[in-house]
Amino acid sequence: MIPAAVVFILMFLLKSGWLAPYGDWGQSTPLALGFILIFAALFGKQVSRLKLPQITGFIVAGILCGPYVLKFLSITDVQNLQLFDGLALSLIALTAGGEMRIPQLRGSLKAIGTMVFSQTLAIMAGFMLLGWLGRSFLPYFSGMTPGQSLAYAVLLGTLATATSPSTTIAVIMETKAAGRCTDLILSAAVVKDFIVIMLFAFSLSLAESLLSPELGMNLGSVLHVLEDIGGSILIGLAVGGGIILYLKFIRREMAIFILSIAFFTYQITHGFGFHPLLICLIAGFLVQNMSAQGDSLIQEIEKISLPVYVVFFAISGASLDLGALKAGWLFALIYVVWRGILKFVGTYWGSRWSGQNREMQRFGWAGFISQAGVALGMAIIIENEFPSWGGEFKTMVLAVIAVNQIIGPVLLQKLLVKVGEVGKKFTVNSISRFSYSGGEAASPEK
């Protein structure tokens, strides 16, 4: 507590009217980075004492110190530090791919498929219903034609389907959770990311044709998405192959190597329109399942990734536009509650159909609430595609993401505690010695 207070007071003094005029604030990004790194890490530790996930602490620290509350970080600082987004997302995806083992997936393929399908179906249907019925009682939909409200609803539904795999992985890593429920939530979150990306391409084309009937349905964009996904898989295989060779034959300067791979894979492939998350996921998956180097990769990532995650989540908190939340809080609240209900319905039926236990049926929805980068990215695309109303749409989505990103990690952690899987993963090596048996084999007692 004392160190956090010391850093906070020092930053307060530096930014105060007494000292601030003497500083060159055009070059303050390293100061902002150092401050948020220490303060968010310490705040996360304090939050974990309240039995909440550390990443909630990182996010809240970011919100508090960000440009909308205490202004310790300026908007320029936040924009400069968003350079960490690509690095963090790549590391997260590499870890996620590395945590997916074929024997484990083979056992839960049906459950994953069922869960993703039922959630997507429930949410899309639910939001279409909201769009249809909402025209008469929700101000947001008032004055829209049936086609327009359907277009809105389809896009809202697609966004609502998205879950944040990065947040899911971060909470799982932090709580050292392992087991059947953990695997299902992680795998479903990752698989759903692909589904959402493809679904978004369809939804966007559908929305365009509904809002501008003269254009018709644009299948070209859908094919383009499929091309991107195919290309991403091929690049992922190449990156994974490179990592295997490096780990096998060179295996030196590991920190620089992994950080470079993560950073440049994201930046380069993103620039060419590929999907860096998918690329890193495939790469991690390949290293884990086609070589003996998988656990080494995970261990090396775990050694260096914490600073990146702290900054990533804190900056994602700092960049949440609280003004947007204030402006659209009513619809955001309805959206969050309705999405939660639909997640419950989809997860309940998905769990039942795939034969999950009662706890998963009742509480599994709590693992799919968080939202971050993918949803935000889609909102930005919508803003660009539909300039007349896209800005307002994005503001509302930002408000929703703000709420979901704060409550999502807390709910996921509570779920993992509820199903008794927290602390079951004690080391990476210990897991690799066991084949998948529902997580129990990895428990310290055995």
Binding site: Q27, P30, L31, G34, L37, S260
Partner: protein, 404 residues
């Protein structure tokens, strides 16, 4: 080139460089030493920068300036972390006094020599700025690096009392120079480069010292109990970024402020081993990245003013070391006689000299800053070429058993 691709290129060079360069070779030639000291990357940076091929544009370099800032802080922290009381007290007490007086004498030689040179070469420069620059040149030439001594010890496979004395002196000289750096930046605090009053300067110096002391103590509080390595890395990175960022924002040298952070922490903590492991794993690549960026920033202009200044700096440095030892030997009552040309073991500047020069260049956006950087970097480069030969002369004059 976009900052991101520029960064990629630098990372690639650093990655390859740290794999293949910095290897100690059995034969200590000037070329081998230039490779070992990493100075070659300075020229690679110069080639990549605006003055060379233009691959690293000014915009890209401006975007990458936080990395320079952080690297300076990291070097300062690493340097300060080595100044641990438990380690230093193993040496005789008179070594510390010798180190102080030796540094002071070289600083004075450098100050008067460069003040005279600046008076002739840059007559239009204001009096206070000229004095500030002369102090900076004096401090610069008092810096040494242990790299050459270590390389010599490695190639000879011998370490003796002269080696340990020289090793101690080169290790500690940086402390006095960086302390002097804080005096310069406090009393000639940018943007007001006219010297400040004693009270104002002292207050600024006190702030730039108390700030890292407080944070060093805080770092100790955070890590005194069992701390997982990832957490340690977060705190270490966070503190160095925070301290170097704050010092740079307020025109203080990150090198000094982070050195104080390192000294404070290393003298409080019991986790030296863990921290060293973290620091050393990043040392080489970070140093290469810094050298490349400095090289790219360097507005190389070689005229007679710079050539003369370089010559004077090397001359007064040599004189400062050569003349001071016989005096201090008697003053500090050494029981064994120092070899007549013992000062020749102190010609290498090493990375700390480069970091010192660029630290001042980063803080002071003055017309004279480019002149200072060019003269400083060329003096460092020439010294690095001359220093192996100088050391060889010294070793040929002394009984090899005394070095053992």
């Amino acid at each position: 080139m976009h900052a991101f691709y520029a960064f990629g290129l630098i990372i690639l060079i650093a990655f390859l460089g740290s794999r293949f360069a910095f290897r100690r070779r059995s034969q200590l030639s000037p070329l081998n030493f230039i490779l070992l000291s990493g100075i070659v990357y300075l020229f690679l940076g110069l080639y990549l920068g605006e003055m060379g091929s233009g691959i690293l544009s000014e915009k890209a370099l401006a975007d990458l300036s936080p990395i320079i800032n952080f690297s300076l802080g990291w070097i300062g922290f690493l340097f300060g972390f080595q100044l641990e009381h438990r380690y230093l007290r193993r040496f005789p007490k008179n070594y510390l006094g010798l180190s102080l007086f030796q540094s002071l004498s070289v600083i004075l030689f450098g100050f008067f020599g460069s003040l005279f040179a600046l008076w002739i070469l840059l007559p239009a420069t204001g009096g206070a700025t000229r004095i500030g620059m002369a102090v900076a040149f004096g401090l610069l030439i008092s810096l040494n690096s242990p790299t050459l001594l270590n390389a010599a010890a490695f190639s000879m496979q011998k370490k003796g009392r002269y080696y340990y004395l020289a090793r101690f002196l080169v290790s500690v000289s940086g402390f006095w120079a960086l302390l002097g750096l804080s005096v310069v930046t406090s009393f000639w605090h940018f943007p007001v480069t006219d010297s400040r009053s004693f009270g104002q300067g002292s207050a600024l110096m006190l702030i730039s010292t108390a700030f890292p002391v407080l944070l060093g103590w805080m770092f100790h509080l955070l890590t005194r109990h069992k701390t997982p390595e990832p957490d340690l890395l977060v705190y270490l990175l966070g503190l160095v970024f925070f301290v170097s960022g704050a010092s740079f924002t307020f025109h203080f040298p990150p090198l000094y402020v982070c050195m104080v952070l390192g000294i404070t922490f290393s003298n409080l903590t019991k986790k030296q081993e863990n921290i060293y492991r973290l620091l050393l794993s990043t040392e080489k690549p970070l140093y290469i990245i810094l050298l490349i960026l400095i090289g790219a920033l360097w507005k190389f202009n070689f005229g007679y003013e710079i050539a003369l200044m370089v010559g004077i700096l090397i001359l007064v440095r040599g004189l400062g070391y050569a003349l001071s030892f016989p005096v201090f030997e008697k003053l500090f009552g050494f029981q064994w006689k120092l070899p007549p040309k013992f000062g020749l073991s102190f010609l290498s500047f090493g990375g700390i000299g480069v970091a010192f020069a660029v630290s001042l260049h980063q803080i002071y956006s003055l017309p004279e800053s480019d002149y200072f950087l060019s003269a400083a970097l060329l003096a460092i480069f020439l010294s690095e070429i001359l220093s192996p030969a100088a050391l060889r002369i010294l070793l040929s004059r002394i009984d090899s058993e005394e070095w053992e």
